[in-house]
Every structure is written in C-alpha cells, then in structure tokens.
C-alpha cells in the first residue's frame, strides 16, 4: 500500500518521502483516534476501582472514597464509603430510637446502576423518617456475593456497626443454595487475599485507563467473566450456531439453610425475595417469574419461620407495578423487565421492608425480635 502510493512518485527520493509521509500519517492517526476514544470513553464505559481488604468485614471491598461509574443499563456514579458501602459515605453515630439494618445481597442490592439518592438504603431511610423508629440502612452488598459470603460477615459487622437486623435481598433463589455448617465460622478469610491496595489488580485499576482495562477484559474474558478459550475442533450435532447455558441446580435442604442463617447471628434476619420478572405469554399482557412457584416459596417461608427467620415474597408487588407500566427491573436503555433493580424496584422493596420492620417490632440492638 505504501509502496503503491510511492509508485506514483517519479524518483526514488520522492518514493521514500511519500512512503514516510503515509507512515507518519498513520502513526499520528492511530494516536489521535486512541485519544478520541480515551476522551469520550467515560461517557460509555464503566470505571475500574481498586479493591482493598476491609479489616472489619474480612473481605475485599471497593476502595472507600472512590467513585464508581456504571455505564450499562442505567447510567450512574456511586460514591464508595466506609467498609466499601456503595452510596453511603460514612456510618453515623447511633442515636436512640434508631434501628440499624445491614443490607446484604449481590449486585441487585448493591444498586450501582442507580444514583446514590435512589439506592435502596436511601429509600428505606426516607420512608422511615415518620416512623417511631428511624431506620439507618447500611449497604453491605457486593456484586457476585451469595449466602456463603454474607453469613461469615454477620458477627464481624454487627457489634462494630451496632446492627439490629440483617436483611438479605435475594433475587435469585440459587444465592441461598450453597451453604454448609462451616459457613457460620467466625474467622473469615478474605475472598482473595491478593486484592489489597498494593496488589497487582489495584495497580492496574489505578494506573491504566478504564477503556484499556475494559478492552483487554473483553478480549481475554467471556461475558460471564470466565477466561476466553478458543475452540478449533470441528463441531458435531449443531446445524445452526446456538448457545444455551441453562444450568439446573438441585434444590437444597431448606431446613439446613435456614438453620445455618439463624445460627450465624444473634440478631434477627429478614429475607426479601424479589426475583426478576419478564414480560411473557404471547398476546396476553402478563408478567411471569422464572423462579420457584408460589407453593415452593410458601414452603420455604414456613421453614424459615420455623427457624426464626422471616421471609417476605414481594413478587405480587413487583408484578402489580409492572402491570401498571412501572417496571421494577431493567432500564430505558436496557431490556424492560430484565437486568438490575431500578429506582422503582427499590421503592417497592423499601416500602415492604419498612412495613416488615414495623410488624416485627425490631428494637434497637435487636432485643425483641427473636
């Protein structure tokens, strides 16, 4: 190509000049193009924050004081507070007539896609302003967490932060599946000890532009965050390319699950079940849930109650909201009815939780509920 351009030049010197000019043009062009991407990428690409070990929780959390930019379904910036709490900068001094609630969950409870003001803990606090007891909600959820991550942290945070109630926001019932007797152990090993502020990952997060980290992750990893592998062997048994990764999990021993939850703390535990809903049913305006049916949840609730764990199933509230065109999951720029909880979803959950706390008559330091 460079030679082609140069061929137009009559003399060898002219040939060389033309070739060098085009090479220079391309080098500069690549730099300008990359700069353009670097400048505009914060509008479209999430940020990468370093993680550090939170000594109190015993797990790695996003660096307190940082700001996490979410760019996917929903566009929001979240300030990271003490102990990696998303959207809450500090833990205030405890007052009398105040109930402290620790909210556990995965990315659905973490609420990165919504602004801090619309996050679950803020909505709970707003709704409880007029109640007899003011609720202070502490967001402890981390993306990807499940019961095995939550339980070991219960006792570590409850004295330090004077927790009165633990709330588990469960969107996928499978998040409660993996539990065993050792899950209540007091000693917690960090999920990844290398993820402290001096680690390799932390260096990458602080030193390399987010768009470059994002690009390398997309090249090297699959959408479900596992390492990308290439397949070169011929196929067998598929006429048209299709991928379906349905995973069927076996049902756990619910009695063991609930007993383990109850034994992991002296404070009351409340589970809110808020599964994803999707529009479905051809030609009839209806919404459905993909997870267990009402009978199954009723049975789990009764086992939970037997173990002194309360459980509310808020599917009807979610469904009723969706039927009124107020979708609790998904965003305008994402798929309606799929994806993360949005502001509406958090409103519904906050309302349910404030009512549940009222009904449970949880008092400060969890004196009566259990």
């Amino acid at each position: 190509m460079i030679r082609d351009a140069a061929q137009r030049q009559a003399t060898p010197l002219g040939e060389r000049i033309a070739a060098h000019r085009i090479l220079f043009q391309w080098l500069v062009g690549v730099a300008v193009g990359t700069t353009l991407i670097a400048v505009t990428s914060p509008l479209f690409i999430r940020s990468y924050l370093p993680r550090r070990i939170d000594r109190m929780r015993g797990v790695s959390v996003l660096q307190p004081g940082g700001e996490y930019r979410w760019r996917s379904e929903g566009y929001a910036t979240t300030s990271i507070g003490d102990h990696g709490m998303a959207g809450r900068s500090i833990v205030p001094e405890k007052l009398s007539k105040e109930i402290r609630v620790a909210i556990w969950g995965d990315s659905q409870a973490e609420g990165m896609p919504v602004a801090d003001e619309a996050k679950l803990h803020r909505q709970i606090e707003r709704l409880s302003k007029d109640s007899e007891y003011r609720i202070i909600a502490l967001p402890m959820a981390r993306s990807g967490d499940d019961l095995t991550d939550w339980l070991p942290q219960f006792r570590r945070v409850e004295d330090e932060l004077e927790i009165d109630l633990h709330v588990l926001l469960v969107v996928e019932i499978a998040d409660l599946f993996e539990v065993n007797e050792s899950a209540t152990g007091l000693e917690v090993a960090p999920t990844n000890p290398t993820l402290d502020s001096n680690s390799h990952q932390a260096w990458i997060a602080t030193s390399i532009p987010a768009f470059m980290i994002h690009a390398s992750r997309r090249v090297l990893r699959t959408p479900d965050d596992s390492p990308r592998t290439l397949r070169f062997r011929p196929g067998w048994g598929s006429g048209t390319p299709a991928m379906d990764g349905t995973i069927v999990a076996s049902t756990p021993d619910w009695n063991l699950v609930m007993r383990t939850i109850a034994e992991s703390t002296d404070r009351p535990v409340h589970i809110i079940y808020a599964p994803k809903i999707v529009p479905s049913h051809k030609n009839t305006a209806d919404v459905v849930f993909g997870e267990p049916d009402v009978e199954a949840i009723e049975s789990i609730r009764s086992i939970a109650h037997h173990n002194q764990v309360s459980l509310t199933d808020i599917r009807e509230s979610l469904r009723s909201s969706a039927m009124k065109n107020r979708w609790p999951h998904g965003f305008h720029n994402g798929r309606i009815g799929e994806g993360h909880l949005n502001e509406t979803g958090y409103q519904i959950i906050a309302l349910d939780l404030v009512r549940a706390i009222d009904a449970m008559r949880v008092h400060s330091m969890g004196s009566t509920a259990r």
Binding site: I2, G29, V32, G337
Partner: protein, 465 residues
Amino acid sequence: MLFTQPEFLVFFLAVLIAARSIKQNTWRNVLLLVASYYFYAYWDIRFCGLLILSTIVDYCVARFLEETDDIRKRRWLLASSVIVNLGVLGFFKYFNFFIESAALIVQSMGLSAKTLNIILPVGISFYTFQTMSYSIDVYRRKLRATDDLLQFALYVSFFPQLVAGPIVRARELLPQLAAIPAWSNRRLYGGLQQMLRGAIKKVLLADRLGEMVDPVFADPAFYSSSTIWLAVIAYAGQIYYDFSGYTDMAIGGAKILGYRFPKNFKHPYLANSVSEFWHRWHITLSRWLRDYLYIPLGGNRGSTLATYRNLIITMTLGGLWHGASWTFVLWGVLHGVALCAERLIRGSQPSPKPKPFYSNWIGWGVTMMIVLIGWVLFRSPDLSSAISMLDRMFFRTSGIQWYPPLVIAAISLMVLEHLAWQSRWRPVMRLPYDRWYSPIATTVMIWGLVLYSPTGFQPFVYFQF
C-alpha cells in the same frame, strides 16, 4: 465459525499466510478447499457429506451435459440435478413445514401426522442455488462445464461465501480460480477496510438494534404503537446491517485472498419503488430468481396477466426460500403484489411526463411502508404474532412505551449513513489509505468494536435461511 468470532481471525490469518506462501495454483486451491471444508465442519462435520454430494452431482451432470447434444438426455440430466438439489433442500428445510401444513388438513379427517427432528444445515439454501445455477448455465450453453473437479469443489465450498452468500455464479468465480491472483497491497487494504466495515455494521449496529427487536417481537401485546413502530424500524436496520455486514466481510475476505465477489447490497432503503428495492436488496438472490425462475416462467414476454402471475410466483417462492413458514410465504406474496401494483400504475400512465419533485418522496414513503410491513411478516415467529404486531402498529396505541436511547442512536446512525452515501461524502466513507482521516476513523472503529459491542453471542440472521 462466525466471521465475528476470534477463532475466525486466527483461521483467516493462517489461511492467508499459507495461501500467500504457495506458488502453485493447484496447491493453493487444495489449501483453500481444505480450509473451506474445515470452516464448514466447524459447525457440524456431518453436513460436509451434503456439500460433497451437491458438488459431485453437479460436476458430473455438467460434464455429461457438455458431452451430449441429445435434447431429451440433456433435459433428464438437468432434471436429475434439480431433483437432487431441491430434494436435499426440501428434506432439510421444508419437510416439517409441509408435514405440519398437511397435518392441519388430515387432522380434520381424524388422522395424525408426525414431524421429524431435522437440523437445518448451515448455508444449504445458498450452495444448492449455486450448484443448480451452474448446471442450468451449462444446460443453456452459457457456460462450458469445467473438467477440473478441484476448482469446481472450491467454487461450491469457498468459505467466504459458503454459508450466507453472496450467491456467486460459476462464470464469475471459476475463471478466477484458474490462476493465482496477483498480490496487491491496495487490495489487501481495501479488503481489510471492507471486513472492518462489515464487522461494525454487524456488531455495533445490527446487534444493538436486535436488543430491542427480540423482546418486542416476542411479546408485541405489551407494547404501545409507537414502541412497535420503533421496533419494526429497528428490525429493518438490524436485518440490513446484519446481512450487508456479513456480505461486506465475505467480499472483503475474498478480496484479501485475491478474489472478486459481486455486490449484494446498494443501500436498499433509498429505493423509491419496490422494484428498485429488489435491485438494491440481496442483489445476487434477486438476479438468481430473475434468471432461473422469472424468465423461464415467461417473464414479461406474455400477457399482462401472465406477467403478474410470474411476478407473484417468483416472489412467493423467493419468500419460501427464506424459510419454511407461512409468514415468509406471505412476505413474498406481499412483495409480488406490490410489484404487480407498481407495474399496473406505471403502465396506466399515458406518457412519460417529467415527474413532480414530490413524486420521489411519495414513492419512497410508499415503498418503505410496504417494506416495513413486509419485515413484520418476515420477523414474526408466526402468523398470529404478525397480526398482533400489525394490529398494534395501526389500531391500538396503549402499552409500554419503550424508547431505548442506544437503539435510537443506532437508527440515527443508519439514517446518517444513508444520507452520507448519497452525498459527496461517499468517497470519504471508503477511507482511502492516503487520506488524513482514514487512520483516525480506522482506529476509532477498531476500538469501538472491542469496547462497545453488545455482550453475548449473536449469530447472523441469514444463517437460519
């Protein structure tokens, strides 16, 4: 193996390096043939047998056709090619459709009919049409049968066009396979740019538009009229950019290897009439249907009514080629009727007077309306869904109002791209290698592909045909 998969990049690079280093045409063709069969076997190795069958049948038929002048014998030979090709296509693609359609009738008589679990081999509609066209051309004495089985096998299976076209005629590709193409850096650059453009069309535009299309077409009853309209426009963009993106990658890949494929798209949404649309949309299929179906049926050489009949038959079968479903049949009928109506209106005009300035706009508006209604039939999983979509498009307004910003942005880009293509910016869009803006645009496109493509696996729409 999809053109957008990382595996394809590795595969293509290996083939390119090997092809470039081979100095003998026969060995180069062997390499490309092996690579093409591997490319096909990547989906399912068992279907390579169909490819071999189709190749051998049409090679032999063409050789015998070449050697005989006996008209009866020639007809039988051609019939055998058509029967084998359409038989294979009919079994894999239409068997269950005909059984299900027949079941509706026999059920009323108290009988039952069972369908089979048949997997549709990728690209079968494309390569059977290619091999049939070869035999027909030899039968018509428009082409001499090749005696080089290797070249013919490569013509049938050449991987850039194997699974979704363009439908290349033997007289276009076979002569190119007779000698090693001369290497050209400029052609390499042009091919790479075309592949990049195709990937952008597929990944950044089509797949993004598909994010809205899939849920809305799955449950139209939920959505408001305006959302349905937006989804239909999004689908128009999705199918165009998906298919033309694939074609760009196929043409670009072939170009890099030194071969030239025919154009398949010329911005069809700029058409001012349905007939113009078909001169711009899937051009290689349109000309196949014209040359091997419409003209043999009589074309426009008979009465007006016969012409209308031929148009409707051609378009209906064209619809059925896309898939074994009544929605595709209706899509074909709609376009056939529209072509007839156009002829009727054009034919009734007394003299070729200069057209008023607004006639193009009216023509464009009417064409787009027909095309969009057609896409509703084309995309809907069944007739009842299509009726529900059309009902909500025109008669019911209530429902979820969903206007995803990224989809609106992709549609805006589509409009801008079409406008730019018609303007003096067209040469700029080709990104000549010696212009200052080309490296900037190329860099932005590559970063854009890596950073902004929707996550997840999105097969090409036309693979299912």
